[in-house]
Symmetry: none
Subunit: 220 residues, 4 copies
DNA sequence: TATGAATGAGAATTCATTCAT
DNA sequence: TATGAATGAATTCTCATTCAT
């Protein structure tokens, strides 16, 4: 290096800047992807470190163990969906439109966050073991159930919706209609020999789901 | 041992009778349980052998590898549910009763065969990799879709059901309504802080599902 | 099978005719190939059985163990080369021609029986363990050494060859000149980046070997 | 442990100092010995770890797999012999002496490094599979061939050596003369019923090899 | 805060060999 | 003579985790 000269004299790979938050975030991102793709059993700590671009030891430094990391991933995933759910404005629109929005939101969120589906599957495989350890599950109860209860009540009072609909049941049903289709798209596509993830198929599915729920709810 | 003689000719572990079919069946039973409880990644071949009461080597002798064993388990699980589905007599009863039976069957099958749900989850986590290798997926297409199509048509012609219902969509919906509730009961129970698997809750769920589907289908 | 009818009514895979010699021969053939290709450590009894088209158990029935099978293979390989060596007529031709024949024979035998080279390598890796157990090694001493001694003597008396040549040394040298080239052709080809097994290369090698040995032997 | 106190702070196996180079070197040493003695198929990773005094896992940490370790061993073996070959000063002495030195060097190197012979045998058994994967084979071409070419040329111009000798052929011949004797000493000793590795026998062999080559090369 | 080196416990898979017929 | 079923003991390789700096 005769004439030009580097600012920093070390030609060695620059040590990563010490930024705790950033490292933790990258670890969580990497872990989310890894767990979502491979499940808890199939995920590898080595690979998570590699994906995050951090030293494996750092994962233990911040999260303690693979299991605890999984819990942290789960918690963040729940926090995120709850955050978006809270942003849904169902009380400001008329009941039928509110239901439409709820269904569309659920569908789109699962569509855009497939990792959420597989993380939930993993957690259920483990009988919600990690969730139960989590301090903040209580606060994680979906705000949608409250909103939905209010919409159902409003719609009923307006004579539009049928009476006696349990908001929890309906919430679970809407989730299930989307969840099963999207979460099992691989096996369903194989069994039905048709691509359930094609754009047209997805449009039709959302339409069917909406018809189904509104066909049930709306009085004539 | 010149003089003394053993009374009982050693109570050593009786050599298992040489029955290939029986051994294979027991391996499949054990593997089904193990994979259902722990997923493909979490399952242990050692444990499967132990559960089956066979030598671990025998698993490789018959099935080649853990992955191939998983495939065999999946295939048998599909064959079984298809077998039971074929036994459903939907064409012999009037449309509304037929739909009730279909929903109840789906619900009860998932309830009694929770392993089917987790196996499907695992397979979807692996993007239906094993199913795609399976020669007989084609013939595994659910007979229910055909039956359902016929019932929908019959109900429509009788002026009972609405027109234009895609049987595949409805089939997926019915499955999803049951699947999500049962397959995610652990996380849902944790999040809603109520036991979804209590007898009363299960009765209510089946009732809700039936109301939802028939509320949608039946014209007034 | 409406009209034509099999002699034997069993459509099952015909049980192999019980022919002890044939079975043993096929096992030896298969084992020779397997050991030659993969060495003693790399050879698999399962694969030998498959190659021979016999049940694995039969190998143990006839040969006792993998090691004993290897010994049997080795013995047969030695018997065969000794048999061919005996057929060499060196005493009937004039000394120079006799040497040419010996070199050509050695070269061609190794060329046509590459398995002999690798079997020898394996046996040397194992410090001739199996050979030492073999009863008939004594009688396996190459007849070529005797013949060569006679030729050297005859050539010397005729004033053609130099004196004091140890026939064992020369025999080993001739073997080595061929053996190293053929037995190490893969690494040599890789290192020299030229194909030592091309026809032209082989012709040149035989020519060089002959020149070398006769250049040394023949007095001027 | 309230009152008593250990004198020596536990004589437990001292944790090995963290020295990556040293660990890798020891693994390579141990692996070289193991592969040389037992071949690729017969070598055991466990035993290599034990011989090296390292944790078995470390072998995988550094070398990835048994095959890759074998490749590393081979590469180092080639590097070493090439290094010594380069140190041979053949161009500084008169042609006949240069040839003597080359033969003696080859003989002595094989004699002192029997592992090189068996490693080569193993690699040839595997059709140079590992060598071909090695990036640096090209640069591994023996410098001896160049040197030999120069000596042959020099000897010919001085009227001492015969014309038209291919240096590659002669190099291979010299190697083969030593290689076959030393590499097959166990079977040859068994077959000839005489100890080829006795000191006297070895002296005679080197003498014979030199006579043979010079007898061929030197014009009269 | 960050990292390369090191490890014990296990995991899937293999293999020679024996059993029972 | 012949064979499918079965097995114990390895064997290669993996993995979460810890050490030392």
């Amino acid at each position: 290096m005769p004439t030009t000269r580097k600012r920093t004299p070390t030609p060695a790979p620059e040590p990563r800047p010490r930024d705790a938050d950033r490292s933790q975030g990258e670890i969580l991102d990497a872990a989310t992807a890894e767990f979502a793709e491979l499940g808890l059993g199939g995920a590898r700590v080595d690979r998570i470190a590699e994906r995050a671009g951090v030293n494996k030891r750092l994962i233990y430094y911040y999260f303690g163990s693979k299991e605890d990391l999984f819990r942290a991933v789960l918690e963040r995933a729940y926090e995120r969906i709850r955050g978006e759910e809270r942003a849904l404005s169902m009380s400001e629109v008329e009941p039928i439109e509110a239901i439409r929005r709820l269904i569309a939101f659920t569908w789109n969120y699962y569509l855009e966050h497939p990792e959420f589906l597989t993380l939930l599957n993993s957690e259920n495989l483990h009988r919600a073991r990690h969730l139960k350890k989590s301090a903040n599950i209580a606060s994680m109860n979906s705000p949608l159930v409250q909103m939905l209860a209010e919409v159902l009540e409003r719609g009923h009072r307006a004579g539009i919706f049928r009476a006696g609909v349990d908001p929890v049941q309906l919430y679970v049903s809407i989730a299930g209609l989307a969840y099963f289709y999207l979460g099992n798209s691989h096996t369903l596509s194989a069994v039905f020999a048709r691509d359930l993830m094609a754009t047209k198929a997805k449009v039709e599915r959302l339409s069917h789901m909406t018809d189904l729920v509104l066909g049930y709810l709306v009085r004539d």
